[in-house]
Symmetry: C2
Subunit: 145 residues, 2 copies
């Protein structure tokens, strides 16, 4: 089910600003701040209001169509969610982000922590940062900035 169907299903409308936000996120692949998304929409001559960007991101996050990513500095960024993947790997140089698989066993690490702390764990946020292959090739850069 794509995002338009999802919206319909919820009785929500497929509007111009929503189309633009999704399109910008699709083009990017990188986590973007609301401001960055707005800027790019203007650059693409698709003029939408900043307020709508905020509202759209809230909505799409609610629906699970985009995810919020917390970097060390930029703290309010959003990426399109590929369903089933919940972890990000972000390049410190160019900002590109990929999702990766193979962390299904993370949940097996949870049990000992729940035991140690007495917490019930419901959610987690995992994000790696490093240098992507492109940037390694281009710059010969490997270490942390």
């Amino acid at each position: 089910m794509d995002w338009q169907e999802k919206l319909n299903q919820e009785g929500l409308r497929v509007t111009h600003p929503r189309r633009v936000v999704i399109s910008v996120l699709e083009q990017s692949g990188t986590p973007l701040s609301p401001q960055a998304i707005h800027r790019r929409s203007l650059e693409a001559k698709e003029e939408i209001g900043l307020v709508s960007v905020y509202r759209t991101l809230d909505l799409l996050t609610e629906l699970g169509l985009v995810r919020r990513v917390h970097g060390q500095n930029e703290c309010q960024c959003y990426v399109l969610a590929s369903p089933g993947h919940y972890h990000h790997l972000v390049c410190q140089h160019c900002g590109s982000a990929v999702e990766f698989s193979g962390m299904e066993d993370l949940s097996s690490l949870l049990a000992p922590i729940e035991l140690e702390t007495g917490f019930t764990i419901n959610e987690h946020l995992l994000q790696f940062s490093g240098v992507c292959p492109e940037c390694q090739r281009r710059t010969g850069y490997h270490d942390q900035e």
Copy 2:
């Protein structure tokens, strides 16, 4: 080595605002926003400027004495760092945070990911959220909010 020695070592001064910020964080145990820290300092009749709170948090984070924690809503919170522990578990009810150990082997998960993606991984951000034992007892609440 305590924080005062650490500052001296770096040629930095042990000042009133820095003492107050650390003290507030010690009292709390919970991650606090710069504003919250400032508010509490005033309540404790230890009047310091909000600007100094920001600057102190930046500094202490730099020195690894406090860590920044990203909640789902509150996004700019800080807790005192227990050395050697790097991961947080935050209660969705009361906001209390603990650091936990036993994730040393997280780095062993990195290799396959580096192989899959071609990235060089330098940093990671890992945070669990759930319900702390206190809140479980008080409310009988276990599931995600």
